[in-house]
């Protein structure tokens, strides 16, 4: 009799470990469906109640349905987003997924102007291009006025002193459909094709994608690559303003568009029976209109800091984004942990890092609890300015959108899942999102030094979802 332990080429044994873990967890539901006491009582009667026909039922179509409620602090954006997705599994390993989304956004968004110690009045168009009817009523604190001497009808709203100026006049409804198909290609490969379309009042987006993946090394290694193309059409309600022109009530120019081409390539590796790791690189190039047509930037007096005028913002027409993502799924005892890190850089000058950690903890056979935390940090885009100084030459591009500024954010969340039957689950998720950034940047002139210039947001979201499968 001999004993041995060491070895290097663990091809079968490591793959088998993972397969076995999968098998045992996949079927864990079957016998545990009955309460323990009931099983004990049927020890001697099992032979009678076995019915071979009843076990031939299979669940093949899955429906996931959820509603997201999102609320930003301070009465800003509020969103409700119902999502329903259907996944059909064919008999040849192919899957077809259809996802329908609709969201309703209401509330106020920062218009980009800096706060000031006195009330600020903003004047915007009240008509859509080519019409004379006012498209917005006196909602959200705004009013319709006729500018004296010109006959131009305008919408005006006032930002109170010492508060971040927001525009409350918008309500947006978006509908989106996503479709994806994937199928095996020979024994070790898979391809996927997909597309999406989304539509809202002032924006439309189309995209198509195609991907290929291949397994190697006894399915312990998967290499994948995917290409996608997106075409977006921006049709702002009052037309497209010319960057750096002064905010006014005139109806603006026509629709604009942008296109995005992206590539994602990655490797997924089974490290051992407890650990799956994934490394992805993605690169994307956007070309076309990427300015926010509703955002303005304050031009302030270089001494007092008082606003003099408001200009429409302007962003470059090209953007090259790159990111590296490292994801891990680790079985820690009875729990499942998910750890990921992401580094991102684009040629607008934004560099960001994300670290995310969550752990799924089962409680008994039916419940699980999944706490999670995510940290995000980004540097500002080269053309980010809280405001511009009057009399100084205009930069080529400028935006005061806080999403392009320097900030960090922490998300903390908790998910609770409950398995109702063998094939259905209900879950609740609650997340708290907090941004922090520079509220009083150095060098703010005059009274601006006393204003909180950080336009970041705190938000909470709640999701309730139901997932079930049927034949």
């Amino acid at each position: 009799m001999q004993l041995m332990r060491s070895g290097r080429n663990r091809q079968i044994s490591s793959a088998l470990g993972l397969l076995t873990a999968n098998l045992l967890s996949a079927v864990a539901a079957h016998a545990q469906e009955r309460p323990v006491d009931q099983i004990a009582q049927t020890v001697t009667t099992t032979q009678d109640d076995y019915d071979p026909g009843s076990d031939l039922a299979t669940g093949r179509t899955r429906i996931d349905s959820s509603v997201l409620f999102y609320q930003e602090a301070g009465g800003r954006v509020k969103a409700t987003e119902p999502v329903t997705s259907f996944t059909l599994n064919g008999s040849d390993g192919e899957t077809l997924n259809l996802k329908l989304t609709s969201d309703t956004l209401t509330g106020a968004t920062p218009n980009g102007a800096a706060p000031w110690s006195q009330d600020q009045v903003f004047t915007t168009p009240a008509h859509a291009p080519g019409t004379t009817a006012t498209v917005t009523g006196a909602s959200g604190g705004s009013r319709i006025v006729t500018i004296p001497g010109t006959g131009t009808v305008a919408r005006q709203y006032t930002a109170p002193a010492n508060t971040l100026p927001v525009d409350s006049g918008f309500r947006d409804q978006r509908y989106a459909v996503d479709i994806g198909y994937s199928s095996p290609l020979g024994a070790a490969s898979r391809y996927s094709l997909g597309g999406s379309y989304s539509d809202e009042r002032d924006y439309r987006s189309f995209s198509v994608n195609a991907g290929l993946s291949r397994d190697f090394n006894h399915r312990n290694t998967t290499v994948s690559a995917a290409l996608d193309y997106e075409y977006d059409q921006s049709a702002p309600i009052f037309g497209t303003p010319t960057p750096f022109t002064e905010m006014n009530a005139d109806v603006k120019g026509g629709d604009r568009s942008k296109s995005v081409i992206g590539l994602v390539a990655g490797v997924t590796q089974v490290m051992n029976r407890y650990w799956l790791t994934q490394l992805n690189y993605s690169v994307g190039r956007s070309t076309g209109y990427q300015t926010d047509p509703y955002k303005i930037i304050s031009v302030v007096d270089g001494v007092s800091g008082a606003p003099i005028r408001y200009l429409y913002e302007g962003r470059p027409d090209n953007r090259l984004r790159q990111s590296v993502f490292w994801g891990n799924k680790v079985a820690l005892g009875p729990t499942f942990a998910d750890f990921s890190a992401r580094a991102y850089h684009d040629d607008w000058g934004i560099t960001s890092y994300t670290v995310s950690l969550s752990d799924r903890i089962p409680f008994g056979q039916r419940f699980y609890l999944e706490p999670g935390v995510r940290y995000y940090n980004q540097g500002a885009a080269d053309f980010f300015h809280n405001y511009l100084i009057d009399g100084q030459p205009l930069p080529s591009f400028a935006s005061s959108d806080s999403r392009l500024g320097k900030f960090s954010a922490i998300t903390a969340g908790l998910k609770l899942g409950f398995r109702i039957t063998r094939y259905s689950e209900i879950y609740f998720q609650y997340e708290d999102y907090r941004q922090s950034g520079t509220t009083h940047p150095a060098g703010a002139p005059g009274g601006l030094a006393d204003q909180n210039l950080f336009g970041g947001v705190n938000a909470t979201s709640a999701i309730i979802g139901l997932s079930f499968a049927f034949r």
Binding site: M1, Q2, L3, M4, R5, S6, G7, R8, N9, R10, Q11, I12, S13, A15, L16, G17, L19, T20, A21, N22, L23, L24, A26, V27, A28, H30, A31, Q32, V36, I39, A40, T42, V43, T44, T46, Q47, Y50, P52, D55, L56, A57, T58, G59, R60, S91, D92, G93, H218, R219, R273, G364, Q365
Partner: protein, 299 residues
């Protein structure tokens, strides 16, 4: 010592209890590390219920099993339930990983091979006639639909008992913290260290039964399975024909170890690895070494 109506038996030991019953044509036992008789009985019954469930669903000896229904499909496509689908996926992966050595369709070779210690070898022709009915690659498996060509059969003999052990351990672990060792016909798995913190002592049967136990091993949590031809072989002209049949040839593999015992986290893994090791015949040790498998063998 209460006697169960279906001849299951609970025995009080110096440390803990022993629950014994018969299932899957094998003696089965569960060591339960508690002195509480009610708990021991309850956990023993859980293991038995699962063994019985798996046997009634997957026994090839029972006409009313799901497996028999699948094998009687006579070439028809048949949908199967999720558990069976998962097992078939598993078997399919084992077939691929072992380069066709581990094959759930090979049981049909028993029609010509009877390992009774005699010298009655089947004729080459009779083996050759069966080969068209052996080979997982001839089965059309597109989960959840299986289509088995007429004359072929599926047999979970290589994984069924091991699967039952793993399932029994999981069910007991979900119901109680009491340490247990589940042993279904020699395929065994311990849930954790014994109640007093020591390891379980497992005796490995002597291959030739000439004397005391072959050896003993100690395990904490984990599984042990043994594949071997201790009692099942044919002997002709001084050549020993092992009962380990290579599904690719229909003939016994050449010169396998007398037995291979494999330790792994789960019984399924250990069982497949010990079987595949034996199927490597003369190369069994090289396979075990290359894979870095914790194993003990007897030549």
């Amino acid at each position: 010592m209460p006697i169960e109506p279906n001849s299951a038996m609970l025995t009080r030991l110096v440390q803990g209890h022993l629950y014994q019953f018969r299932s899957m044509a094998s003696p089965c036992e569960v060591h339960i590390e508690t002195n509480d008789q009610d708990i021991a009985l309850r956990l023993g019954r859980l293991a038995e219920a699962e063994a019985t469930r798996v046997e009634y669903k997957y026994s090839r000896y029972r006409d009313d099993s799901l497996l028999s229904a699948i094998n009687a499909s006579n070439g028809q496509s048949l949908p199967v339930d999720e558990e069976t689908a998962a097992l078939l996926d598993y078997a399919s992966n084992c077939y691929a990983l072992s380069d066709g050595r581990f094959d759930v369709t090979s049981g049909i070779l028993r029609k010509v091979w009877r390992f009774d210690g005699s010298d009655r070898l089947p004729s080459k022709a009779s083996v050759r006639e069966l080969l068209p009915f052996v080979g997982w690659n001839k089965i059309t498996w597109r989960s959840p639909i299986i289509q088995i060509p007429p004359g072929m059969e599926i047999d979970f003999g290589g994984i069924g008992k091991e699967y039952a052990v793993d399932r029994a351990i999981e069910i007991i672990e979900a119901a109680s913290d009491v340490p247990v060792l589940v042993n279904f016909g020699g395929d065994l798995r311990a849930s954790k260290l014994r109640a007093d913190g020591t390891r379980w002592r497992v005796d490995i049967e002597s291959v030739d039964r000439s004397g005391p136990s072959g050896a003993h091993l100690e395990i904490g949590a984990g599984a042990l399975t043994t594949s071997g031809d201790a009692r099942r072989y044919l002997l002709k002209d001084g050549v020993r024909y092992s009962h380990i049949l290579d599904p690719r040839t229909g003939w016994p593999v050449k010169d396998p170890p007398r037995s291979v015992t494999v330790a792994a986290t789960t019984c399924l893994e250990a069982g497949v690895l010990s079987t595949v090791a034996m199927l490597h015949g003369r190369g069994a040790e090289r396979f075990l070494r290359r894979e870095g498998i914790k194993a003990w063998w007897v030549r």
